[in-house]
Symmetry: C2
Subunit: 446 residues, 2 copies
């Protein structure tokens, strides 16, 4: 025997909606079978609710008939009734919207205002199992992946769908058994063409495949919703292991990433947050296997391969962007220009005076070095001085204009500035007569 | 520009199939466009393979034509060719199978034998993206939940599908561009009625919903496969936290289980392994919220609510089954009968002589007590004796017949037998004149 819909409703409501007490719901009732049945079920379940009806005035007398019907229903059930008449056609024309889109905008705006005005906890609509199957089929056709499978959710913020568990057949059977009257939903105003096409052409052929196809499909949707919760839980674990956030940059160790399973999805979910899509996943994997310094870009972010790291960095945030210089690197190139790196076997006879060449005693350096834009608060010991100086002050003294100052890069070793690139090294890292290991950096501007 | 199918094939093969070296594949070739294109792609990718063709002799001259065509293809590609002619109709009649089922059985048995005989690493079939969409739609109609979404997998043991990434359009375009000839697959032998119905009636209407519907849907399937991997990973974590295995019984702490998210799916995945289904999930949740001693059963297992535990126990393993008696319990009931438990304020004036009543000094008891079937190796100190005795010996002395012996239960306190239920208590736990706290157990057989 099939369980009674009233019992299923209360169980579903208790498990998934859980909004009780006074002023629980504002139920949107068109007068069609689904929303009328929802109102009856809610009444029998002792839920405290109001009824709201939108009259879009698109079908003349029929619209008036529907409004009166819903008002009578509210009186019958003894619940407060709210109604709004919209001049939908004028609104659509004024805002250059289709009638469908205009009606939906007007509807949800007014319903939400009404909910708030009457201090009701949530707005309830009468979407049911078959609506949800239609939504998931639309999503599958659009290719929305795992997120498309959950379809319509029972609760999204202050919007709830307490009838999602019910099949159309169950709703019809209940209306018949209880002799509940309703009006014909002749408008399907909130449905797009696609949804109606699926309803009238796709669902019937699926029923030919399997007589219980819609029920079977529909009952799988809550399973997909929960599967997505588990998916997110596992993803969270991978993200914690793989993504290190430093300010607004993300650092991902390449080798660890390549060992992660399932790779494609993990890469997708990481880069999605930086404006990349499924199409870039293979590029990112190739980046992991490719050379340092290469990058791919979205509208908002760059993903840069930097030695053992993938670095995801916001484009507008160039100042915080940096390059890593590891021991043994020969060259580093980027939008700042190019720095070539050589190890010298001994202190050269003549120390170059060219400011674009830096000679450093590696004894004091800690790798990796960081190449980054200078920032307020930076200071260093300019070569030849034993007192520290703010980099900002130094740049003023150099008489750099603002645009030029914004292009100044520094190299940092364990939080100490080593070199104002192309301008002055730090005194602490200078080469002395007894220096054993010398690094020569040569800067070419972009 | 769309990527070249040969390039996509090699990338897909490298990422998902990864079978290289000599004697890599046995490719099953019917002569139809899909399997012929697969053979050509494999050849161009330098994969070492043989071709196998099944001649089911169901279509007279056409069957002969197909066999000759595939043989010629093998010669053209310079690869070994294996063929088998089946008397499909006789086999189907002899085994009372439909022609379709008979052909599939014959096909896979012979292909696998051939693969092994020629020491080939894997068998390859030419299933493509559209086949996979059909499979997933069939599964959705059947309601197979999350597991149904992965459809056809690229690798299952020694069976591989290297063409799963390709759309039918890509395959046709490649055949045309390369002027590859093939025969018409007029039999669709391995396809059931349902699959053909979906191909001819469901997919065309989905294309009306969205022109790229099949491609979008199909490209989501590998995402679903990976989503399922993440699903399993998260599930594994929950299982480790929730399920404690003791021999062949599983213990699940009720409170912890009820707090787990997503509850329905976690319960489902736990009980699935004991032969329960989706329909029992709510019953199990109710069991968690209900009384001790209740249980639900599958063909093979019972799930019993036993105080703070759910215990999943194999039915055939009745001996290992047990109930837990906590301090303060008033009653324990089950298939053994019923035991009522009372605390007495003082030693009764008259010690009852009825063997179905046990008076115990709680001073010596350690809770929880265990109620379980007696087993070989059990011993105790029968009331009035200070020498221990094997329970087996005791039961023989009581002149119990075998069936009755199998129904004897004991109560155990910290591995010491306290009571042979309804027969004799242990001397060590007897009430004495100075006993302060007395437990009276009264046994009623089932």
């Amino acid at each position: 025997m099939k369980p009674n819909i009233q019992h299923s409703f209360q169980q579903y409501y208790q498990n998934h909606i859980r909004i009780s007490g006074s002023n629980a719901l504002l139920i949107a009732v068109s007068g069609g079978i689904d929303s009328v049945v929802l109102a009856h079920l809610a009444k029998a379940a002792n839920i405290d609710f109001h009824i709201a009806h939108c009259n879009f005035q698109l079908r003349g007398e029929e619209s008036q008939r529907d409004e009166q019907f819903v008002q009578a229903l509210a009186t019958q059930l003894g619940v407060p009734f709210h109604v709004q008449r919209f001049d939908t056609e004028t609104y659509a024309a004024a805002n250059k919207l289709s009638i469908q889109v205009a009606a939906r905008e007007l509807r949800y705006t007014w319903l939400e205002e009404t909910r708030i005005a009457h201090q009701l906890q949530a707005l309830a609509t009468a979407h049911h199992l078959q609506d949800n199957v239609e939504t998931v089929i639309m999503n599958l056709c659009k290719g929305t992946g795992i997120a498309g499978l959950h379809g319509i959710l029972p609760v999204v913020n202050r919007l709830v769908r307490p009838l999602l568990f019910a099949t159309r057949d169950e709703i019809v059977a209940f209306a018949q058994a209880q002799q509940i009257s309703f009006v014909e939903d002749s408008s399907n105003l909130t449905d797009k063409y696609t949804r109606n096409y699926i309803r009238h052409h796709v669902l019937p052929v699926l029923k030919e495949v399997h007589p219980e196809a819609i029920e079977n499909f529909g009952h799988s949707i809550p399973r997909f919703q929960e599967a997505e919760v588990l998916y997110r839980q596992a993803l969270e674990v991978h993200m914690k292991k793989l993504v290190e956030k430093r300010k607004n940059e993300w650092f991902i160790p390449v080798l660890k990433l390549l060992q992660a399973t399932p790779l494609h999805t993990i890469v997708y979910e990481i880069i999605k947050q930086a404006g990349f899509g499924n199409a870039q996943v293979q590029q990112v994997i190739d980046l992991c296997k490719g050379e340092t310094g290469k990058y791919i870009a979205s509208q908002s972010h760059r993903i840069i391969r930097d030695r053992q790291w993938l670095v995801i960095t916001p484009i507008e945030n160039e100042e915080s962007f940096h390059y890593i210089i590891e021991k043994g690197d020969n060259e580093i190139a980027g939008n700042f220009g190019r720095i070539t790196i050589q190890t010298l076997p001994a202190v050269p006879v003549e120390i170059p005076t060219d400011a674009s060449i830096a000679l450093l005693d590696t004894k004091h350096l800690e790798f990796p070095l960081l190449l980054r834009k200078w920032k307020q608060g930076d200071y260093f010991y300019p070569l030849g001085m034993d007192k520290k100086k703010k980099v900002a002050r130094f740049l003023i003294d150099q008489k750099l204009h603002i645009a030029a100052k914004e292009k100044v890069w520094v190299i940092e070793s364990n939080k100490r500035v080593v070199w104002i690139v192309g301008m002055r090294i730090d005194n602490r890292f200078r080469v002395q007569n007894n220096s054993q290991h010398i690094l020569q950096l040569t800067f070419q501007p972009a």
